[in-house]
Amino acid sequence: MTLASPETGLNPSRRSLLAGSAAAAGAFSFGFSIPFAGEAAAQGTTSEVNAWVVIHPDDTVVIRIARSEMGQGTLTGLAQLVAEELNCDWAKVTTEYPTPGQNLARNRVWGNFSTGGSRGIRESHDYVRKGGAAARMMLVEAAAGEWKVPVAECSAEKGVITHKSSGRSLRYGQVAAAAAKLEPPKDVALKDPKDWTIAGKPLARLDTADKTNGKKIYGMDLKMPGMLNAAIKDCPVFGGKVKSFDAAAIRTMPGVKHVLPVGDSAVAVVADFWWQAKTALDALPIVWDEGEHAKVSSEGIAAWLKEGLDAPEAVVGNQNGDAKGAIASAARKIEAVYSYPFQNHATMETMNATARYTPERCEVWTPTQNGEAALAAASEASGLPLAKCEAYKIDLGGGFGRRGAVHDWVRQVVLIAKQVPGTPIKLIWSREEDMTHGRYHPVTQCKLTGALDKDGNLAGLHMRISGQSIVAGIFPQNIQNGRDPVVFQGLNASGPEASIGYTIPNLLIDHAMRNPHVPPGFWRGVNLNQNAIYLECFMDELAHAAGKDPLEFRRALMKNHPKHLAVLNAAAEKAEWGKPLPEGVHRGICQTMGFGSYVAAVAEVSVSAEGKLKIHRIVAATDCGHAVNPAQIERQVEGSFVYGLSAALHGECTVKDGRIVETNFDSYNVLRMDEMPPVETVIVASGGFWGGVGEPTIAVAAPAVLNAIFAATGKRVRSLPLKNADLRKA
């Protein structure tokens, strides 16, 4: 592994990156081993057919991937989409990441780098496929030109172009250089998904082998010549500052090189090795100015949110009919209050980045869900213009939203590196720093009031959400008229993103915003997680109150929502809803829509006399429209239950004295193998649209289990997580 200085003077024109240029290959190196970069330089004939497709003389196809890979399989899925249209040999496909700086320099030819909101594939399928198709057309045209025959007489399959009537053929690697010189086609037609042979298939991921032998390099593993390591402590109370620290007390500890302020709220120790830096930092006397939030507690926050449940002022998210009137005149009124805690993303790899700063240039190497946002953070923290900065993406040891919208750790490492010019600095957060300086799954409560008519039909529903707004915390400029649209995820009247699956004659869903000082963030599943618990558990309560089967009660409200209904039915059918279960085992069901996809789940649980929960089986149905890689979708659905059930069973960050109490996995437990149920995934790929798969299923994990717990015990758990609930039968 060597530190190759990445290319700096990128010419924005496509031609300048063309074939043959060793620089083109080197330009995509992020400083350590990149597949084929060295070979390409040696061969000297690599051809960039277009921004998405690079072809080597040996027919190796390098597909450029703009989105980040954090385990979700997007890298493989996007490569499948390009390869499908390229008609190349899948066995010869490899991938590489263009850098954010190159994207800017080339007029954002690779589009958006942001990898969140389950958008990796669903937002870029069109242009990446067109990239593959255009490259194929240029390769065919190049071959036809060489043969001096009409393009229409030539075809391409598995990386070989054939002129049928003369029996001639050329491999992509033989014509790539010529193809690269052609003008890109203006009209590019895409295949009908029914004709797919690479996309839509459960192909093996491209990135597995190195994850089994220790060779995979994560940000935390980076090594550079002359590199120093940094550990950091930010003020434990959000919004607090450093008052003073006694650097002299640790200056002579082993390996310590620098003790540095980082902004006005943090201190870093820079040492030869990270363990030395951390040890010295732990010994460093720091006096904090804890600021105005030093007395805030979970109890205080909960009381403030509770007040919002009945506050006169609230912003309407979805409304039809007269919900309050319907409730006032209802035969029966049902009411319940739910609450959801702060939760940490708890990625397995803690936040980290490496930076090298000189007055002329600032470079950052980091696991990020949005390389362009990391670049922007580097520019802002360094004070250098974007063109003098670069960010190199490294595959993530988990993202889940923590490494997307906010790049606080990148800002920190640049602020440190700026004080040690010319020296690469690797900053690693301790788990304790990571747990207590997250961007938390926001805290909300919800009061639901339902009106049942005399026949037990739902005549009206008021859903009042009180609590934190992620958008207000991260993108306050996007709050319009006090409204955070994300708060209403899954509850919208209509739309392809996250609409409610029920038609309720009188409906009011509103939000009383209450923003505690604990910083919120986009957390895998976002507000859909809380909203699905609130609505789907309350639907169960209403069905029970009406004396109806929870599935039938829902179906009666879903006639105008065929896609929602179809996945609900698919889950129910697979789980054999209504059929007897073994003694003591009970089912719960739920459905929702988010991130463009429709999802539903059935959980089978039992609860022992001692109140111990066992989840026996999960059945989950997903309609994501087009299924690009069913094997990876299945893994995302299964993984979503680990993430969602971790949250439901264990996830809780409590606040005391203005700071987060839970500092590690001993106090912030997560689901482990002994609690993991078997998951059966039903992929309902109805086609015609592109939905996400990384997040939506998380939202149905908790309500399916909570509803099953009620069926098993008669107990409604309305306050998460379950670890705080007594599940012994009443």
């Binding site: 954090m70 990270w274 993991m676 078997p678």
Partner: protein, 155 residues
């Protein structure tokens, strides 16, 4: 100066006695396949073998390791990355982000060494490593596959 046998090679590292073995392996010896996840022996990302026993290296000071002990890291699990479990991990496409998988594999290898035919319940109780992406069921399937194949016994 501490002296270790790591993956069959004797190495000397100059670190204070209370330095966790994990950080000596990662920073002094330079083997980064073993991961830092929690530092308190909770998550298992740092699992290595010490005389064949799965050990969480983040919480073991180097002073507790003698030169006679045989430390094996993920890099030394097999000479060519083709340990039966590594092959099963690839066949079942176990990893998602992959960060926890070095530890998972080392824990699984030690489990099969001591219990070549574990039941599902054995696996669930012995494999306490944390994976946040959610690969548990694939981990379990891969271990059962290897246990059922008898590949470990032949090794």
């Amino acid at each position: 100066m501490a002296k270790f046998n790591v993956n069959g090679t004797m190495v000397e590292v100059a670190v204070p006695d209370d330095t966790p073995l994990l950080w000596a392996i990662r920073e002094q010896i330079g083997l980064t396949g073993t991961k830092y996840g929690c530092g308190v022996a909770q998550c298992g990302a740092c699992t290595v073998h010490i005389d064949g026993v799965a050990t969480r290296s983040c919480s073991l000071p180097v002073s507790a390791v003698t030169p006679e002990m045989k430390i094996v890291t993920i890099e030394g699990l097999s000479p060519d990355g083709r340990h039966p479990l590594q092959q099963a991990w690839i066949k079942h496409e176990v990893p998602q982000c992959g960060f926890c998988q070095s530890g998972m594999l080392m824990a699984a290898a030690a489990l099969l060494q001591s219990n070549p035919k574990p039941t599902e319940a054995d696996i669930a109780s012995e494999m306490t490593n944390i994976c946040r992406c959610g690969t548990y069921n694939k981990v379990k399937a891969a271990i059962l596959d290897v246990a059922g194949s008898g590949a470990m016994g032949r090794g």
